[in-house]
Amino acid sequence: MLPFRIVVGCCLSGFAAAQSVQHHVVPASAAAVDADSFGWLAGASAPLRQQHLVAPQHLTGLVGRTLTALEFRRTAAAEAYQGGLMNVAVTLAHAPHGPLDASATFAVNLGVGGVLVFAGDVALPSSPAPSPGPAIGWTPDNIVRIAFTAPFVYLGGPLCVDVVGAPVAGQTADWWMADAASDPVVGATTELGGGCGAYGGVAKRWSSVSAYTLLPGAYASFEAIGPAWSIGICAFGARSAQPIPLALLGFQSPAACSLMLASLDAMMLAPFVPAAAPALQHLGGHASVVLRVPNDPAVFGATLTTQWLEWTQQATSNAIEWTVANAPPSLGMALLEGHPQEPSGNLTVHLAHVLRFESQ
């Protein structure tokens, strides 16, 4: 009888080990304390698609385990959050590439073999203001929990977490911010002037590039404001030592228009697209040129200058000299956000939500 009991006991303990529930926070540094940023959640207040790519070094403890739930913890801001309800669909996939090779197109990051692990309504809890201090627990009042209804066994490699959310009428939570982590790596920009025309306020500063997009693995985003449906020419080259008046080059340009480029290495056209909503069309058009910054040492620290020319005014924008960061972000995550009806979105490799996976 004794050997039988030993065998049964061993079987039960082995079963318990295999079924033990574990929690795994990415990034691990935010497991018990608030990270340095925050982010909204897909469906809490608006239709939104959020796709995270997680590097395998964050997930070694999950290899071979079945993921059973995904949780987001609120940020530790000293305010109460009103609860609500959102409708989400969550798909997990072994991604074809890591976060620093992420695409701005959702489908590319999902690859093939994605598993729809949940579809339905999820509660956002009413959450009182947390106690002061960085520590914040994964308690029911603090988290949005999505318990999977289909299993997903993580086999290793980059993981894609795709969440498509829609608000539930009358039950939105307009400001329920989840914890997010950022990386301090950043590019650099220098304003060179040269802007003219009817846009950009007093300084005629109607073009911009965010230093947070000048990162290896990111998409550098060059943007400009101008007349709706006009065409912008976005020019790239080396910085000019002296401003070159556009009038000298034969343009019928407003005063103070100056070319700040000593060379023209590339030019791209982009339309100034007005907002779809009629109430916003007085804000003019928005032109955008996006360049992939490869995660390649050859571009670390690379410098160029960008300046726009708006065609109807023959006006130059403010020129911006910009420099790619000297190293890639070490966050090991990427976040792609966009509208569910659009195939692509805005990718960041320096900012992503804090995620907690439940597994067994």
Partner: protein
Amino acid sequence: MSPQGGSGLRVIGPVVQGGTITVEVGSNDTTVYVSAGSAGETVSHAVVPGKTNQLPVPPVPGGTVLWLWVGKGLNRRVVLVEVLAP
């Protein structure tokens, strides 16, 4: 004063002439635009990835309504705030 906005973009506290605008951005957008009501008066500011962003109030008269927005396409979020005289 209650925050103005929501759904990924909001303004905290009053917006006073000569002061700053405290903006919180919940989306991953890296640029926020501030307009005094016309396209010609629109300027952009980089969004820092921390909790809040401090932007200068443009030189406009008290009572002017500012338009702040992030994002593009269907994902654009807009908040309107009034500039108060000091």
